[in-house]
């Protein structure tokens, strides 16, 4: 066994080194494709998490100017009350909104606020979620209105953008994974071809089939593993410097899970590539 381990390690390393250009190509292709897979998984998870966080709470908020007059307030209030698409509305006074701001904003931000410069707001729930848009466009230019926001709507849009991105990533990753498999297959084929004399002598003197095969399988396995390790670095970097809101920041469990998937896919790709090469080109 020890003899064999030494032999297999020596052969595998020699093969990897002999085909180093092909090896680098295969490893990089695996790395790029698996980085895409990892990014798609991260996106999916962070989108799900962000949606869950925003689920409860106001659907549409009509923010009034801090200095809006009483008649402007009354106008907006009555319009909201008569709109059939608005199911329910509550009014937050400036004092209430100030308290809320105090609760959710960091101190550096709310300390510059005071009750008088905080907007009062109507928190409304539309009958159908997509009607949030109609509410937004209706009240945006109403006198006394500062802004209309619909966080869920934003998330919804973002979610569909993310979904498209995800599909694109996964489709690209699929194509790249396929080419990575073919590249690994080709590398192993070249390794087998380079050693065909050795292989024929090995068969002649009675080396077992697995003895002959294993160095080539290990070679593919290592290429897949190296590629996925690079991808794990990329995914971890992406996770650390995520260019999105805090709400999208994922915890370590999600990262570890994603990296695990990346590693497993990489190793499987490597083994499948070399396995196919052996079946087709190593006649033992």
């Amino acid at each position: 066994m020890r003899v064999y381990l030494r032999y297999a390690v020596k052969e595998t390393l020699a093969n990897l080194w002999r085909n180093r250009m092909m090896t680098i190509a295969a490893v990089l292709t695996v790395a790029v494709s698996l980085s895409l897979v990892g990014a798609a998984l991260l996106l999916k998870q962070s989108a799900a998490q962000a949606s869950a966080q925003w689920e409860q709470g106001t659907r549409v908020t009509v923010w009034m100017q801090p200095n809006a007059s009483a008649s402007q307030l009354a106008n907006v209030r009555s319009q909201l009350a008569t709109m059939p698409i608005v199911k329910d509305c509550t009014f937050n006074t400036q004092a209430q909104d100030y308290q809320e701001a105090k609760r959710i904003l960091p101190q550096s931000e709310w300390s510059v606020l005071s009750v008088s410069n905080v907007p009062s707001s109507f928190r409304c729930v539309p009958t159908v979620p997509s009607d949030a848009f109609v509410v937004m466009s209706t009240f945006k230019n109403e006198p006394g209105v500062y802004n209309v926001t619909a966080p869920e709507q934003q998330i919804r849009q973002m979610n569909s953008a993310i979904r498209i991105l995800q599909i694109v990533f996964l489709a690209l990753a699929g194509v790249l994974l396929l080419s990575a498999t073919v590249l690994i297959l080709n590398t192993i084929r070249m390794a087998i071809f380079a050693r065909r004399r050795e292989v024929s002598v090995m068969k002649l003197v009675g080396a077992t089939n697995w003895f002959i095969r294993i160095p080539y399988i290990t070679e593919g396995f290592i290429q897949g593993l190296l590629g996925s390790l690079v991808a794990v670095l990329a995914v971890t970097a992406l996770h650390t410097w995520y260019p999105l809101h805090n709400e999208f920041q994922l915890d370590t469990t999600a990262l570890v899970g994603t990296n695990l998937v990346v590693l497993i896919v990489g190793v499987v790709i490597g083994s499948v590539g070399s396995g196919l090469a052996i079946r087709r080109f190593l006649d033992v």
Binding site: V3, Y7, V201, M202, V205, G206
Partner: protein
């Protein structure tokens, strides 16, 4: 040691390679296999190595029917059969020592065995002083002796030689034959396919002649030519 029972082999393109061959080769025998090209000599050897299976009949080696051997056992069968070819089949980038050691390495022999066995066998074939040379630095005769060393280092029961002197001049052929005889004297069964008439005539060993797949002669102390008196067993 080797027994053919009504063995026939026809290749896929329809050429019959062997027709109804029955013979016995005892342990320790030295047998020449003669015949024109295409007479079936190579098929005979390939059948012994189980690179081919017979269409009909049985082949027994050391009492076992090798057609019934499962695929994964074939390598173990081959460990008992040494092979020497006309074209030597050495690995050009390995030294003499490494070429012989390779045969032990790939069947999982420990380093200590390799380090004691390989110098011994190189001594036997008279190449102890060339252990570090590459095959390309040796003469044809020396290369063939390395090949014999590789075939014999695992002490096989049977040694098959397919035209081992085909690429050699008479002097080198002589030394290879002396080597094969020496190996034969250790009790190893040697089967040698050859075209070398002078060599067969001088050795006076058992001769099996094939012609178009049929065994036309089996002579105990035979010569190559058929104009000599025959003695059919």
């Amino acid at each position: 040691m080797i027994r053919f029972e009504n063995v026939s082999k026809t290749y896929k393109n329809g050429t019959p390679a062997l027709k109804d061959i029955s013979l016995d080769i005892e342990k320790g025998e030295f047998v020449f296999l003669v015949g024109a090209s295409g007479s079936g000599k190579t098929t005979f050897l390939r059948l012994l190595l189980r690179e081919e299976l017979p269409d009909r009949g049985r082949i027994l080696e050391a009492g076992r029917d090798i057609s019934e051997l499962s695929k994964w056992r074939v390598p173990y069968l081959r460990r008992n059969i040494g092979c020497v070819f006309q074209d030597f089949r050495l690995l050009p980038n390995k030294s003499v020592f490494e070429n012989v050691a390779f045969a032990l390495e790939v069947i999982g022999r420990p380093r200590s065995t390799i380090e004691s066995q390989v110098p011994q066998i190189l001594e036997l074939v008279g190449l102890a002083d060339k252990a570090k040379n590459l095959p390309g630095e040796l003469s044809g005769g020396e290369q063939q002796r390395v090949a014999v060393a590789r075939a014999f280092v695992n002490r096989p029961l049977i040694l098959l030689a397919d035209e081992p002197t085909g690429n050699l001049d008479p002097t080198n052929s002589e030394s290879i034959m002396a080597l094969l005889e020496r190996i034969n004297r250790t009790g190893t069964t040697v089967v040698m396919a050859t075209h070398d008439k002078a060599l067969v005539d001088r050795m006076r060993r058992r001769v099996i002649e094939l012609d178009h797949g049929e065994m036309v002669r089996d002579q105990v102390r035979g010569v190559y030519g058929i104009d000599e008196p025959m003695e059919i067993r």
